[in-house]
């Protein structure tokens, strides 16, 4: 499955027609959802399939309808973007050196897990520990996430609504 993911990624990078890029991104999201199911993270897989493959594909196609579907020819040299991408990759790889080993026993994520599993049913009566951690023990984080979604929504509305209805900014130029 990871091989398929790599193949789709190479396809996304090589494709010049943006509609096929969007379709490949949808395929990538479905593969990623399958990876999440293999890792027993069904919640994340549902989100990935619905948002990544479903809604965002539709939104990307909607955006493509408003613009051209062919990728523009680059006007600048590729050296600066190449340097920026290489530097970012180097920083990210350097940062992973500090990460604990995969599956190590003495990291907080492993130490706190059994605690929540033991506490969830007696304290909250909720059998699904993911739900009780998200909504109760870590409720403040979830409130932050909802505010992020809210901010994204009003941001898009503020950008698209104003420019389409011909607000005072458009009249000021005349």
């Amino acid at each position: 499955m990871l091989t398929l993911l790599a193949a789709v990624t190479i396809g996304i990078v090589r494709a010049r027609d943006l509609i096929s890029v969007v379709v490949l991104l949808g395929a990538y999201s479905f593969l990623m959802a399958s990876v999440m199911i293999v890792l027993d993270a069904v919640d994340v897989a549902m989100t990935e399939a619905a948002v990544g493959a479903g809604v965002s594909t539709v939104l990307m196609l909607g955006a493509l309808y408003l613009t051209k579907t062919e990728e523009a020819k680059p006007v600048h040299s590729v050296l600066l973007p190449l340097f920026a991408a290489g530097a970012t990759a180097a920083i990210l790889i350097w940062a992973t050196a500090e990460m604990p080993l995969f599956g190590a026993a003495d990291v907080p994520v492993v130490l706190a897990g059994p605690d929540y599993i033991a506490r969830s049913v007696p304290e909250t009566g909720i059998a699904n520990v993911v739900t009780s951690v998200l909504a109760s023990y870590r409720g403040f984080d979830t409130l932050g996430e909802v505010v992020v979604v809210f901010t994204a929504g009003i941001g898009v509305l503020a950008l698209l609504k104003r420019s389409s209805s011909g607000g005072p900014d458009d009249n000021a130029k005349v």
């Binding site: 069904v42 919640d43 549902m46 989100t47 619905a50 948002v51 479903g54 809604v55 539709v58 939104l59 909607g62 955006a63 309808y65 408003l66 304290e123 909250t124 009566g125 909720i126 059998a127 699904n128 993911v130 739900t131 009780s132 998200l134 909504a135 109760s136 409720g139 403040f140 979830t142 409130l143 996430e145 909802v146 505010v147 979604v149 809210f150 994204a152 929504g153 009003i154 898009v156 509305l157 698209l160 609504k161 389409s164």
Partner: protein, 139 residues
Amino acid sequence: MRLDTVLRVAAKFVLPLMLLFALYVQFHGDYGPGGGFQAGVIAAASIILYALIYGLPAALRMVPTGVVETMVPLGVLIFATVGVVGMLTGGNFLFYSHLAHDQIHGQEWGVFLVEIGVFVTVFSTMLAIFYAFVGRASR
């Protein structure tokens, strides 16, 4: 003869199941996988599918823009209100244990209400973004 008859008939079968599955994911989140976020996304996806097949005006008749734009802040308000009620009943912000007569019921009520808040905001934000894009395209 319309060429999209197959799509229209298939959508009529699929859409109720999608909405029902969204409700299942929402209210069964305590015991199975899922919760407000997943349910909101699935419900929004079903409305978007409806809009793609039956046209934007049909979807707007079912879920008008005004309703969607009211729901975006409403979900955050529901979530935050539950948190403040937790404070008023003598706990910290987002402390659910005093919402009902005992701790277990309080927690279940708190999680239930909070998940509804998440659902409302996620569902309406997805739809608001979709409406904003498609509204420009059809202009």
